[in-house]
C-alpha cells in the first residue's frame, strides 16, 4: 500500500492505493460514486474524469501517477452538470442513463477546449463515449444545445 496525495474537486486528499490500482479504484474508495467502470478496457468512456483540466479514462490512469495532480469528477462540477443534464433531458438524449457521467465529463472538456465545435467536431470528440440506448443523434443535439447556451452566456 502507498499513500497518494492529490487535489480532488478542489480539496487536498490523501488516499491509500496498491501499486497496480487505477485512479478509478481510488476514486471509488474515496466515495466518488459518479465515476463508473463500464468496460475496464479503455473502450467505453464511462470512467472519464478530468486530470489537470483534461478528460482522461480513470480506469487506465495508474493511481500512483496522480500524486500532486488535480482531479475533478462530476461531484465537483454540479452547476455545469445540472445545466448539461437539462439539455440531455430536453433532447431525450438518455434512456437508462448509464453512460451519462462519462459523457458529461467529456462534454464539459469539449466545452472548454472547443466551445464553437461543429457537429462533425462534436461527433469526433465524443466518439469514445459509447451509449447503448440513445443512437447518438439526440446526444449530439444536446451537446449542441449546451454549447449554444454557454456561448449565449458568454456574449451576454
Amino acid at each position: 500500500m502507498m499513500e497518494i496525495r492529490f487535489k480532488l474537486n478542489g480539496r487536498d486528499v490523501t488516499a491509500m492505493a496498491e501499486a497496480d490500482d487505477s485512479l478509478y479504484q481510488v476514486l471509488r474508495s474515496l466515495g466518488i460514486s459518479s465515476v463508473k467502470c463500464g468496460c475496464e478496457t479503455t473502450n467505453c468512456g464511462l470512467c472519464t474524469v478530468h486530470m489537470d483540466g483534461k478528460a482522461v479514462l480513470s480506469c487506465s490512469v495508474p493511481a500512483p501517477r496522480c500524486a500532486g495532480h488535480e482531479i475533478v469528477t462530476l461531484e465537483g462540477l454540479q452547476d455545469e452538470a445540472k445545466r448539461l443534464g437539462a439539455c440531455l433531458a430536453d433532447e431525450g438524449a438518455e434512456q437508462c442513463g448509464f453512460c451519462a457521467p462519462g459523457l458529461m465529463m467529456n462534454v464539459l472538456a469539449l466545452a472548454k477546449e472547443n466551445p464553437g465545435a461543429s457537429d462533425e467536431e462534436i461527433d469526433a470528440y465524443m466518439a469514445g463515449n459509447l451509449c447503448r440506448c440513445s443512437g447518438y443523434m439526440s446526444q449530439r443535439r444536446a451537446v449542441r444545445r449546451y454549447l449554444a447556451m454557454i456561448a449565449q452566456e458568454v456574449s451576454a
Binding site: 502507498m2 501499486a19 497496480d20 487505477s22 475496464e40 478496457t41 479503455t42 473502450n43 468512456g45 472519464t48 483534461k54 478528460a55 482522461v56 479514462l57 480506469c59 487506465s60 490512469v61 495508474p62 500512483p64 501517477r65 500524486a67 467529456n106 472538456a109 469526433a124 470528440y125 465524443m126 466518439a127 469514445g128 463515449n129
Partner: protein, 263 residues
C-alpha cells in the same frame, strides 16, 4: 488486469533503464494496453516524470518524446502544418479523444502492434527511434526486431515528406482491418501496409507518385497478407490497391496545398 508489487516513478532514464533490466520489471507509458495484459510483475516503471512528453522542432525534423500522447500529436499545429494534417487525420479513428490523451507514441512504437495506424504512418514518414542504450535506429529496422529491454526515448520524424493514411475498419473506433500509409518525398513515393494483419512494412519505395491502379495491384499481389478473425487474406489483398490509390491521391493533394509550410 496487470498486477504489480511496486510502482516506481522514475527520476532519471538511468534509473528506469537499470530497473528495466530485470525480467520482473515493466515500463508503464499510457497504460492503455498494458492494463489489459494480465501481466504479473514485481516492478512497474513509470516514465511520466522524465519530461519525455514534448514535441520539439528543429530545422530538419520533429523530435517527439516517447511519452507524448497521440492526442498531443493529433492537435499539434506545427506537425500538422508540416505534414499536411496527416496526424489529425490518421490518429482520429483510434478509439476516442480521452483514449488518445492517454496512449503514447512510445507505447505504440515499442509495442509494434500489427494493427498500428501509428507505426504505419511513421514508417511512411521514414521515422527513426532513439533508444536509451543503442541510440538512433531506423523505424523500418526496429519494426523487424523482437521486443527487448531498452527504453525508447524519442521518435524523430524528418521533414520533407507528405503522407496520407487510409484504413478499413469493421466499425468506427475499432482497430483497423487494413491500413495503408503513403508518402511522397524527393525520391518518389513510398507505400506502407499495416494490419496485414502482421506488423506494418514498406511494400514499395521510390515509385512514381502517379502510380496507377495496375501498379498498386502488382504491389498488393507481391505483398504478404494473412487471415484473422477480422478479415481474410484474400479480402485484404483485394482492398489494398484501393487504399494505396486513395492514399497516393491524398498525398498529391496535400503536396499541392502545402509546399511552403514545412521549410
Amino acid at each position: 488486469m496487470a498486477v504489480y508489487k511496486n510502482y516506481v516513478l522514475a527520476q532519471s532514464l538511468d534509473e528506469a533503464y537499470a530497473l528495466n533490466q530485470k525480467k520482473s520489471s515493466v515500463i508503464v507509458a499510457g497504460n492503455m494496453w498494458l492494463r489489459m495484459c494480465g501481466l504479473r510483475k514485481q516492478t512497474a516503471i513509470d516514465l511520466s516524470a522524465l519530461g519525455l512528453d514534448r514535441i520539439e522542432e528543429n530545422e530538419d525534423a520533429f523530435v517527439i518524446g516517447a511519452m507524448t500522447s497521440l492526442r498531443d500529436m493529433e492537435t499539434h499545429e506545427g506537425l500538422n502544418a508540416c505534414f499536411g494534417g496527416v496526424f489529425a487525420d490518421a490518429l482520429k479513428p483510434i478509439v476516442g479523444t480521452q483514449f488518445r490523451r492517454g496512449a503514447t507514441i512510445g507505447g505504440s512504437v515499442y509495442s509494434r502492434f500489427g494493427f498500428s495506424d501509428v507505426s504505419a504512418l511513421l514508417l511512411a514518414l521514414d521515422a527513426k527511434v532513439v533508444l536509451y542504450q543503442r541510440g538512433e535506429v531506423s523505424l523500418a529496422a526496429y519494426q523487424k526486431e523482437a521486443w527487448d529491454r531498452d527504453i525508447l526515448t524519442h521518435v524523430v520524424i524528418p521533414k520533407g515528406r507528405r503522407a496520407a493514411v487510409q484504413s478499413v475498419r469493421l466499425s468506427a473506433t475499432d482497430i483497423p482491418v487494413l491500413v495503408c500509409a503513403a508518402s511522397v518525398g524527393p525520391d518518389g513515393a513510398r507505400i506502407v501496409l499495416g494490419a496485414r494483419p502482421a506488423r506494418a512494412m514498406v511494400v514499395a519505395d521510390g515509385i512514381s507518385p502517379e502510380a496507377d491502379a495496375s501498379v498498386c495491384e502488382a504491389i498488393a499481389q507481391a505483398a504478404s497478407f494473412g487471415t484473422n478473425r477480422r478479415a481474410s487474406e484474400a479480402y485484404r489483398r483485394r482492398v489494398a490497391p484501393v487504399l494505396m490509390m486513395r492514399a497516393l491521391m491524398a498525398c498529391s493533394e496535400t503536396q499541392k496545398d502545402g509546399e511552403e509550410e514545412c521549410k
